[in-house]
């Protein structure tokens, strides 16, 4: 049995070869040459089988130690070579990160539509559901049922658009207010009723502060004991929330609407001193809506017993409300679909008005 050669020079030369390997292929060749099936160290380990137990007791650990140290060195060298190779590759992969990304246009929602949703969120939280009705109305729903007598000058408060009479001679109108939805709701539902009705309305008027089409929101509450104190509190609270300022200083004034009795207008405080209107403070009053207790004639027309039920209604122009809250100086661009105006005054699609998350 040949004696085991001196392992020290073997280890020295092998570690030198590992350290000298400059790429993974060379390193692999070194590994095969030392630790492969026919490698130098592997062959020496094969000799262990032929040794006496005494010889093996010293040679075994020595060889195992050598093998493990070599394997570890190769593994470490391999990791270093990989890291070098990755760094070299990454060094070639530099981008000019100041270049623009692929364009991804973001749209915007129209302020009037956003305000509709804000109001639906506020009134929805107070138990109001959203109702709708047609833009093309008959005279009955737009006027007669709302207690506008035929031929009465009250009808002239609304500059009405008329449609051409059909074959049967009936002439429809473009609704001049959202109040016909009150009628349609009371006819089709049993009290208690709590609705708001947003929508398009039409009046023949076109100047700096009027457009022939605009938006209104109507409210209606019918119950057994709802009175003007409820009306006042409900609207003060709703519009405090809408303007996101406490409207401690709002006031109600008598007015006339054929379909309410008593009728009122609601004013809020505003400040016009700085060239733009600020709501909720200041020396001036600004009218924001009309309201009142539903007229007994209207209840009767809808088949609601005015001795058993009563309630209030209100209506307001949403376009102007949006102007007040968001500072659009002019009404006319609302209907021009100007992309720059819409981007400027519009709302991001994920800005969903909620009572809990804030309205705007």
């Amino acid at each position: 049995m040949p004696a085991l050669p001196d392992l020290a020079p073997i280890e020295t030369s092998a570690l030198a070869a590992v350290a000298a390997a400059s790429d993974e292929a060379t390193l692999e060749a070194v590994r095969i040459a030392e630790l492969g099936k026919k490698g130098r160290v592997s062959l020496l380990m094969r000799e262990l089988g032929g040794m006496s137990p005494e010889e093996r007791q010293t040679a075994g650990p020595a060889l195992n130690g050598l093998r493990d140290r070599l394997a570890e060195a190769i593994s470490a060298r391999k990791a270093a070579l990989e890291a070098n190779a990755l760094n070299a590759r990454l060094a070639t992969e530099r981008e000019d990160l100041t270049l623009p990304p692929r364009p991804d246009p973001i749209g915007a929602l129209h302020p009037v539509m956003q305000v509709f949703e804000e109001l639906a969120a506020i009134f929805g939280d107070m138990g109001f559901a959203v109702a709708e009705g047609p833009d093309i109305e008959d005279d009955f729903h737009n006027f007669t049922a709302l207690n506008f007598p035929e031929g009465h000058p009250a009808r002239e408060m609304h500059d009405t658009f008329f449609l051409r009479a059909d074959a049967k001679g009936a002439r429809k109108v473009l609704r001049t207010h959202t109040s016909p939805v009150q009628i349609r709701t009371m006819v089709s539902q049993k009290p208690p009723i709590r609705i708001i009705a947003p929508g398009r309305v039409y009046r023949k008027d076109w100047d700096a502060t009027h457009t022939p089409m605009f938006h209104q929101i109507e409210g209606l509450v019918i119950d057994c004991e709802v009175h003007m104190g409820h009306l006042k509190t409900c609207l003060t609270e709703a519009f405090s929330r809408f303007f996101e300022v406490p409207l401690a200083q709002s006031r109600f004034r008598p007015h006339f609407f054929p379909f309410t009795e008593p009728s009122a207008e609601m004013d809020i405080r505003c400040d016009r001193s700085g060239g733009e209107i600020r709501v909720g403070e200041g020396a001036d009053w600004l009218e924001i809506l009309g309201c009142g207790m539903v007229h007994p004639n209207v209840l009767r027309t809808c088949g609601v017993d005015p001795d058993a039920y009563q309630g209030f209604a209100f209506g307001l122009g949403v376009d102007r409300l949006a102007m007040l809250k968001y500072g659009m100086p002019d009404l006319r661009p609302y209907f021009e679909a100007d992309v720059d105006w819409t981007r400027h005054y519009g709302f991001k699609p994920w800005l969903l008005p909620t009572v809990t998350g804030g309205l705007s």
Partner: protein, 808 residues
């Protein structure tokens, strides 16, 4: 409606300030629009006395005046020819704004030709009080130096303009305003009973009422020997203050009573009347020249006043020129009649005449005011124009006063939440001219009060109207703060499924780069016709009879024309790619259920240049992607729909289509708009659009609960196989997908088209369509043999259904 403070004080004994009066009016429903106080503009100006006026040493036309003013004795250089020692003038201090010159005096004295001038003495024109600029104001009479000029000039009478709501014709007279202010406790109403003037001879003009519905009562009287000169100064001043030009005594008196008492009258030159006066309906051949110089032809639904010559005026609207009074009138016949409001309104609308008489009669003149009005006019005419009055002649009968209203006392609290003392209720009602009948039970125990309504209040019909009067005078500040009772909101849905779809659809499009538009519901009829397939498809009942503009005269069948024009406008202003959408109504018919909510989007594409890669411009498939995104978001799986041919003349015949549910229900449209349509609108193409009819989408199936089905993850990895088929050009890719799917609907979970190829290797008139088929095995992995079976089934199904061959 305008009035002056001094005029109001004729009927209201008050010391209240103008501000207090205006506030009270506004808070009682008489909404004040403006208060014009001429004194406010003249507040800097005061009375001064010229102690001495000497010639200027260096200028012939100037005088150097020593003037006693509220600021002490001042030296003022003055160019007026009438400046003289001892005169009383109007002084403007340094720094004052001179309205007629639109100029503010320097704050420091200025030298005029070397002599310092410490202020100014003003002409009437400089104070905007008249055209007189020949000299400075030269006041006659006893004035105190320093007194406000407005007072000395009689210009301290503020003019109030307020909105008269249509329910309150009594507010069209100053007396009506005074009555409400008295009820508001701002003063005492001054309204003496009208003293009749005794006639000295029978009225020679006969009055015949031939249309009692139109004109139930007509009182008249003749005054002979009148001198119709200018009316007295105080009357002229009042009319001028409210914007009415004085004409002559007779005309001014009728105008005055119209505004003082809301009682219109008319005066005729009796010498020009022929035979009896008749109040009748218009007849064929009636024709007259109105006082406005226009010629009118009354129709049989109008009320006219006629004599033997025919119609000579519209009752309650406007008189005629042929019988009008002039400076030469000596015998005047005064008409004080009552005309039916509805008919007056109709006549007014039909003729377009806007007159103070029409305005009052159509709102309802006090039907019991005809005698008082006549007597008041007689008195004024006699006082200022002399003459001899006839007796009063009355034809017909005044309409009944408004019916007595039963006021249920509990309604006050029921409707307003305010507990009002019955004494206070009674006091308010009496102050407003109502007469509540309190029985022996006493007002506290009487549940219902019969309330007699004054004849000037046609608006009072029921208990709620009485409540309004009470709370209006008490003030809405008295309303309690009462929150609405909570409502059961657990199972209430605030928005309908359609409203939810509208919200979702709008937000999906906005998130995909679209800007929301709101465009008119009406459009030009010829543009509507372009989308409906010609003018024959237009419906008369969707045509606006009185459009705001001739090109906004038809209810839109689609918003596409509006959005296309808007996109073009934006492009003309330099916008690049324009993406617009609108969620709004369209009008297939005029019935209450015809209106539909359409989500319409439109893109005017532009190839976006980018440094890394060119992006394909927005095209029909991009539109389809946006459409699918909307449908998916509103929980309507697009796979349930089939693609069909475009169904309107405004769509590109080959690059647009519809999505249908079943064979007939069209849910959506998408694709390129027809170049001819765009050209007709004046738009440069191309434009690509989508329309989703959110109203037409069937409602989702109601589910018993909110729980979702149990999640079932496939336990095997899916297998994917590619196939390329050669088919005729006419075969639709969608059909190949469907046919492949049908080969094994259980195992095949997806088929996607990944290549469409024409060219070498594929015969002319054919194309190659490559699809990837996904199989999802469950339970055990598929063997090659099993996969082969499915593959063969796919090939067979597509071959049979589409005449396809597998591409080699």
């Amino acid at each position: 409606m305008k009035f002056t403070l001094s005029w109001l004080k004729d009927h209201l004994d008050t010391t209240a300030s103008i501000d207090a009066i205006v506030d009270a009016m506004t808070m009682a429903g008489l909404e004040v629009e403006t208060v014009h106080d001429p004194a406010a503009r003249l507040k800097d100006f005061s009375i001064a006395k010229v102690i001495e006026a000497k010639p200027h040493p260096d200028a012939d036309r100037l005088r150097v005046c020593t003037v006693e003013t509220k600021d002490g004795v001042k030296q003022i250089v003055c160019g007026a020819p009438n400046a003289r020692t001892g005169m009383t003038a109007v002084y403007a201090p340094l720094g004052a704004f001179i309205p007629g010159l639109d100029f503010t005096l320097d704050a420091k004295p200025r030298k005029i030709r070397g002599v310092e001038s410490h202020g100014m003495m003003c002409s009437a024109k400089e104070l905007e009080l008249g055209e007189d600029h020949d000299g400075i104001i030269d006041l006659e009479g006893d004035f105190t130096v320093g007194a406000p000029a407005a007072e000395a000039l009689g210009l301290n009478d503020p003019v109030v303009d307020f909105e008269v709501t249509p329910n309150r014709p009594d507010w069209l007279g100053v007396v009506g305003v005074a009555r409400d202010l008295a009820a508001l406790r701002l003063g005492a109403l001054r309204l003496a009973p009208v003293a009749p003037v005794k006639g000295t001879f029978p009225c020679p003009v006969d009055i015949r009422i031939e249309a009692p519905d139109a004109c139930p009562v007509f009182a008249g009287r003749l005054i002979r020997g009148v001198k119709n000169g200018p009316s007295p100064g105080w009357l002229q001043d009042r009319l001028k203050a409210i914007g009415i030009n004085p004409k002559s005594l007779l005309v001014d008196v009728t105008n005055y009573i119209s505004f003082d008492r809301a009682r219109p009258l008319h005066v005729y030159d009796a010498a020009k009347l022929k035979g009896p006066i008749r109040a009748r309906l218009g007849a064929k051949g009636d024709r007259f020249e109105g006082l406005d110089g226009e010629t009118y032809e009354p129709t049989p639904d109008m009320c006219v006043i006629a004599d033997e010559s025919g119609a000579i005026g519209f009752g309650g609207v406007m008189g005629g020129a042929s019988t009008g009074v002039s400076a030469g009138t000596t015998d005047v016949f005064i008409e004080s009649a009552w005309f039916d409001p509805t008919r007056t309104a109709r006549t007014g609308r039909a003729t377009g005449i806007l007159s103070d008489a029409r305005f009052r009669f159509e709102r309802g003149v006090d039907p019991q005011s005809h005698i008082d009005g006549l007597e008041l006019a007689t008195r004024l005419i006699l006082d200022h124009g002399g003459g001899e009055p006839s007796e009063v002649r009355v034809a017909g009968q005044a309409p009944a006063a408004p019916a007595t209203v039963n006021f249920r006392v509990a309604d006050m609290r029921r409707l307003t939440g305010v507990a009002m003392d019955p004494e206070r209720m009674e006091a308010i009602l009496r102050a407003l001219g109502f007469d509540p009948v309190i029985t022996a039970k006493g007002r506290r125990k009487q549940d219902v009060w019969p309330v007699e309504v004054p004849s000037f209040r046609p608006d009072i019909e029921g208990s709620a109207d009485i409540v309004e009067e009470l709370i209006r005078i008490e003030g809405f500040a008295a309303l309690p703060n009462t929150p609405l009772p909570p409502l059961n909101t657990v199972d209430r849905v605030v928005v309908t499924p359609l409203q939810t779809r509208v919200r979702t659809g709008r937000r999906v499009l906005a998130a995909r780069g679209f800007l929301e538009a709101v465009s008119w519901s009406f459009m030009a009829r010829d543009k509507a016709a372009l989308m409906l397939g010609g003018g024959n498809a237009l419906k008369p009942e969707l045509t606006i009879e009185n459009p705001i503009a001739s090109d906004l005269d038809y209810m839109r069948p689609s918003a596409l024309a509006n959005l296309a024009e808007a996109a073009q406008r934006n492009a003309d202003r330099g916008a690049e790619e324009v993406r617009l959408f609108e969620a709004g109504p369209i009008y297939p018919g005029d019935g209450p259920d015809d209106q539909q909510t359409m989500l319409t989007a439109l893109v005017r594409p532009r190839t976006l240049r980018h440094w890394a890669e060119g992006r394909a411009p927005y095209d029909v498939f991009a539109a389809k992607a946006d459409l699918f995104a909307v449908l998916t978001a509103v929980d309507f799986p697009p796979e349930r729909l089939t693609v069909g041919e475009a169904d309107g003349p405004h769509w590109h015949p080959g690059r647009a289509g519809v999505l249908k549910l079943g064979p007939t229900l069209t849910i959506a449209r998408f694709g390129e708009l027809h170049p001819g349509f765009l050209k007709a609108l004046g738009c440069d193409g191309p434009m690509i659009a989508i329309e989703v009819n959110l109203s037409a989408l069937p409602a989702g199936r109601a589910k018993p609960g909110k729980t979702k089905p149990v999640f079932d993850r496939a336990d095997q990895t899916p297998v994917r196989r590619d196939f390329a088929f050669v088919v005729a050009e006419t075969v639709a890719a969608g059909d190949i997908v469907k046919l492949a799917m049908m080969a094994d609907p259980k195992l095949i979970t997806g088929v996607s088209v990944f290549d469409v190829y024409r060219g070498s290797g594929v015969p002319e008139g054919s194309k190659s369509i490559a699809i990837e088929v996904t199989l999802q095995p469950r339970g055990a992995a598929m063997t090659d043999a099993e996969i082969d079976v499915v593959a063969k089934a796919v090939i067979a199904s597509v071959a049979k259904g589409a005449g396809a061959t597998l591409r080699g």
